[in-house]
C-alpha cells in the first residue's frame, strides 16, 4: 500500500500505461510544456518525450478526432480535454464518430480510445468551467463512461479502459485531485463494469459517483450517529449502469437517495431513479429522493456556488426525510 493523491494516482496510471504499451500516447492542451491544467501530466514529457506527450493547438474537435483516427490506425491514444465544458467543442467527434463508427461499419472498426477530462464545481471557476455533464455522455450508446471517485480507481481504472476495444471517457472531479488515499500499486487493474458498495448499511441506499462520494460518506457517518444505517454505493461506471448492484441494495433497504452533481432535469440521477422504479417498484417503502445541483449555470461567488451544490447536510436531510418522513 502506498499513500498518494488522486492527482498523483492519475499520473502514475498514465506513466504505467506509457511504459506498458508503445502504442499508448497522450495528447491534449498544455499537457507537455505546461504540465497539464491540473498538473496531472507534469514531468511526463521529460520522461517520455514530445512524441508521446503531445501538446495540441486549442482544437478540441481536431485532436479528439485525431485520437479516434489514430485509435483506428492501431494506436491506443489517451486524449486529455481540460474540462468537460470544452469537450462540447469535440462533441461531434465523440458522438458522430467514436460512438457510431463501430456499429455503422457493421463491426469492421473499433475505436479503442480513452478520453480523460476534469468535471465538476467547487473551485469558483464559474459557468464555463464547472459543470457536470458526464450524464449527457452516459446517454450515448457505444461509449463507456467512468467516474473514478477514489484514489485507487484513479490509479487503476486507466489500464482496463485502455484495454477496452470501445471509446472510454474518464471523468475526474476537480475537487478530488488533492484527496489522498491508499493504493495497491501492484493491482492488475480494477473492474470497470461494477458499482461498489463503499459503506454497507440497512436503512437506506445512497447512490452516487465521482466528486459526490466523499460527501455521501460524510453524510452516512453523521446519519450513523443518529441511528440511521446508510449504505453508500459508488456507481463508478455511468454507462453501462450496473443496475444489478444498485437494485439489489435498494431491494434490501427499501429506500433510496440519489446524489448527482448534474442538474436534476434529464439527469443521470433521473435515469437511475427510473430504472429503480422499473425494477424494484414493489420493494420501495418511500419515494426515491434526489440531491442534485441547483438548476443554474454555476455562479462564481463562493457562497452561491456552495448553495448550488449537493453537500453532506443536504444528503443527510434527504435521507432523514426518506427514512423518517415528517
Amino acid at each position: 500500500m502506498t499513500t498518494m493523491t488522486y492527482r498523483e494516482a492519475c499520473k502514475q496510471a498514465i506513466r504505467a500505461a506509457l511504459q506498458a504499451d508503445p502504442r499508448v500516447f497522450m495528447m491534449g492542451e498544455d499537457i507537455a510544456a505546461y504540465g497539464g491544467c491540473y498538473a496531472v501530466s507534469k514531468g511526463l514529457c521529460a520522461e517520455f518525450g514530445a512524441e508521446r506527450i503531445r501538446d495540441t493547438p486549442l482544437s478540441e474537435s481536431a485532436f479528439v478526432g485525431a485520437g479516434i483516427g489514430a485509435a483506428m490506425a492501431g494506436m491506443r491514444p489517451i486524449v486529455e480535454i481540460m474540462t468537460v465544458n470544452f469537450s462540447l467543442l469535440a462533441l461531434d467527434q465523440i458522438m458522430n464518430n467514436a460512438a457510431t463508427i463501430p456499429h455503422m461499419s457493421g463491426g469492421q472498426f473499433a475505436v479503442p480510445l480513452v478520453i480523460r477530462m476534469a468535471t465538476g464545481a467547487g473551485r469558483q471557476l464559474a459557468a464555463q468551467h464547472s459543470h457536470s455533464l458526464e450524464g449527457w455522455y452516459a446517454h450515448i450508446p457505444g461509449l463507456r463512461i467512468l467516474a473514478p471517485a477514489t484514489v485507487e480507481d484513479a490509479r487503476h481504472m486507466l489500464a482496463p479502459a485502455l484495454a477496452d476495444p470501445n471509446p472510454v471517457l474518464l471523468f475526474e472531479h476537480v475537487m478530488l485531485y488533492n484527496v489522498e488515499g491508499d493504493v495497491d500499486e501492484h493491482l492488475e487493474g480494477v473492474d470497470i463494469t461494477h458499482a461498489r458498495i463503499r459503506r454497507p448499511g440497512n436503512d437506506v441506499t445512497v447512490i452516487t459517483y465521482g466528486g459526490s462520494l466523499p460527501r455521501a460518506l460524510a453524510a452516512a457517518e453523521t446519519l450513523a450517529s443518529d441511528g440511521i444505517s446508510a449504505e453508500v454505493i459508488d456507481l463508478r461506471v455511468l454507462r453501462p449502469l450496473d443496475m444489478g448492484t444498485v437494485a439489489a441494495s435498494v431491494a434490501r433497504t427499501h429506500r433510496c437517495v440519489i446524489v448527482d452533481e448534474g442538474w436534476k432535469s434529464g439527469s443521470l440521477a433521473a435515469e437511475v431513479c427510473a430504472r429503480l422504479v422499473e425494477s424494484v417498484f414493489y420493494e420501495l417503502d418511500a419515494p426515491i429522493a434526489r440531491v442534485c445541483a441547483a438548476e443554474v449555470p454555476m455562479p462564481y461567488a463562493a457562497h452561491l456556488e456552495q448553495a448550488a451544490l449537493p453537500n453532506a447536510e443536504r444528503i443527510v436531510a434527504a435521507v432523514r426525510q426518506v427514512v423518517r418522513p415528517a
Partner: protein, 394 residues
C-alpha cells in the same frame, strides 16, 4: 386438507394467504399448513374466487377436511355452496353497488371512519413495498393505519401482522413433531424393509481438480460445490439402476416416473427434511447446482412446496466437510434405496502401484432386498465411481 404424503393423517392451518373475495389463479399458494414434517405451502389447482375460509387456525384437521370454499369461473354462488347458510357467506360481503368500498370491512374501520391514509377516492395510501407485503400476508390495507406521510402504510406498520410472521415461518418446523415423524418412519423402515448395505471408497482427485478449474473462471454466483457433482453422478447412475428408484407399496415395486432425488438437509437445532429435486438426470451441472442452492435455502427459511415434500423417488444424504467418514443410511419408506456420502478426506491411495495421497470419499448404499440385490447395488456404486473419475462428462 390435502394428503401430502402416504403417512400424513392430519395437519393444522397456520396461515391464510388469501381472504374471501380474492381471485386466485392456478398455482397460487393460498394457505400454509403445519404438518409433522414442517410448514408446507398449499397451492390451488384452478382459477377461482375465494368464497369462504372454513378451517380455523391452529386446529388439527384430518386429511379430507374442508379448508375453504372456492367458486370457479362459471359457477354461481348458489352452485358452489348450495347448503351454505346465508349468514356464513356474510364475511365475503361482495360489494353492493351503493357502497364503493373494499370487499372486506372490519368493524374497527367502521368505528374509526375513513383511515387517515385513505384518499378522497377511497384509495389507501401505501408504499409499494407495504402493498406487496400486505398482499403476501393476506391483509387488507383498508383496515390499517399507516405511520407514513398522509397516513400511508409503510413496511414498519406491517411488522408482526398477518398471523404467522416471517420469523415464525423461518422457524417453520416444530422440532418435537418432526422428531416423532422421523422416529415413526425410521422404525417402520427398520421393521419392514429388509435392508442390504454396500460401501465403497472413491477417489475424488479428478472431480475436485475439475471443479477447481471450472470455478476459477466462474463468478461467485455460478460456482459449483462437490455436492452438485455427487448429485449429478447419482442421477446418471440411477438411469442404469431403475430398481433403486421408486416405491414399494402394497406388496409390489412401482418404478418412479422420474428421478426425483430427495436431498437430506439437516436443520440447525435438530431434525431434517429431504425436499425433492426433480428430474435430476435431465439437469446439467449448473442447473443442478442452482436447484441445490435454492432448495437448501428454502428448507432453511421454511419455504418448501408440497410437491417437493412428497415427490422424492430416492434419497441422498451428504454429510459434508464436517461430517463423519461414512454413513449407513436407513431407507425412507416407501422408497427403496438411499445413498450416503461421507466427508472428503485425504487418504493414501494406490495408483499404478504407487501410493499417493488423494482426496477420498466414502459412498454407501442402503437398498430394499424385496426389490433389488447386492449385485445390482455394486454395479450402481461402480457406475458412480466411473462417473466421478470422468468429471468432464458430468
Amino acid at each position: 386438507m390435502p394428503s401430502l404424503g402416504p403417512d400424513m393423517e392430519s395437519a393444522r392451518v397456520v396461515e391464510w394467504l388469501v381472504k374471501p373475495g380474492d381471485a386466485v389463479r392456478r398455482g397460487d399458494v393460498i394457505v400454509v399448513v403445519e404438518t409433522d414434517k414442517g410448514a408446507i405451502e398449499i397451492e390451488v389447482f384452478e382459477d377461482a374466487v375465494v368464497e369462504a375460509l372454513v378451517a380455523p387456525l391452529d386446529t388439527e384437521l384430518a386429511v379430507g377436511a374442508v379448508l375453504a370454499r372456492l367458486r370457479t369461473k362459471g359457477e354461481s354462488e348458489h352452485q358452489a355452496s348450495p347448503d351454505t347458510p346465508k349468514a356464513q357467506a356474510l364475511p365475503v360481503a361482495p360489494a353492493p353497488a351503493f357502497r364503493p368500498e373494499p370487499p372486506s370491512v372490519s368493524t374497527a374501520r367502521l368505528d374509526a371512519g375513513a383511515p387517515r391514509g385513505a384518499t378522497d377516492s377511497g384509495h389507501q395510501r401505501a408504499s409499494p413495498a407495504a402493498r406487496k407485503r400486505a398482499a403476501d400476508l393476506g391483509l387488507d390495507l383498508a383496515t390499517l393505519h399507516g405511520s407514513g406521510p398522509g397516513g400511508a402504510v409503510l413496511l414498519a406498520d406491517l411488522a408482526g401482522l398477518g398471523g404467522v410472521s416471517r420469523g415464525r415461518r423461518a422457524g417453520g418446523f416444530d422440532a418435537a413433531a418432526m422428531r416423532r415423524v422421523i422416529g415413526t418412519a425410521m422404525a417402520r423402515a427398520k421393521r419392514e424393509i429388509p435392508h442390504y448395505y454396500l460401501g465403497q471408497q472413491i477417489s475424488m482427485a479428478a472431480a475436485l481438480d475439475w471443479l477447481g478449474r471450472a470455478n476459477e473462471n466462474r463468478s461467485v454466483e455460478a460456482r459449483l460445490l462437490p455436492a452438485a457433482l455427487l448429485l449429478r453422478a447419482v442421477g446418471l447412475a440411477l438411469t442404469k439402476a431403475p430398481s433403486l428408484n421408486g416405491y414399494y407399496e402394497d406388496g409390489a415395486f412401482r418404478a418412479g416416473e422420474g428421478i426425483h432425488v430427495g436431498w437430506a438437509v439437516a436443520l440447525r437445532g435438530g431434525g431434517l427434511v429431504a425436499p425433492a429435486i426433480h428430474d435430476v438426470d435431465k439437469l446439467n451441472i449448473d442447473a443442478l447446482m442452482s436447484a441445490l442452492r435454492d432448495v437448501v435455502a428454502r428448507a432453511r427459511r421454511g419455504g418448501l412446496r408440497r410437491s417437493e415434500m412428497v415427490d422424492a423417488t430416492v434419497t441422498v444424504t451428504s454429510l459434508g466437510e464436517r461430517g463423519a467418514d461414512t454413513v449407513q443410511p436407513i431407507i425412507h419408506p416407501p422408497q427403496v434405496a438411499m445413498i450416503g456420502f461421507g466427508r472428503i478426506v485425504e487418504r493414501p491411495w494406490a495408483v499404478a502401484g504407487q501410493v499417493q495421497v488423494q482426496p477420498v470419499i466414502g459412498v454407501s448404499l442402503a437398498a430394499d432386498h424385496r426389490v433389488s440385490d447386492g449385485h445390482l447395488g455394486s454395479q450402481f456404486l461402480s457406475e458412480i465411481e466411473r462417473l466421478l473419475n470422468a468429471p468432464e462428462s458430468l
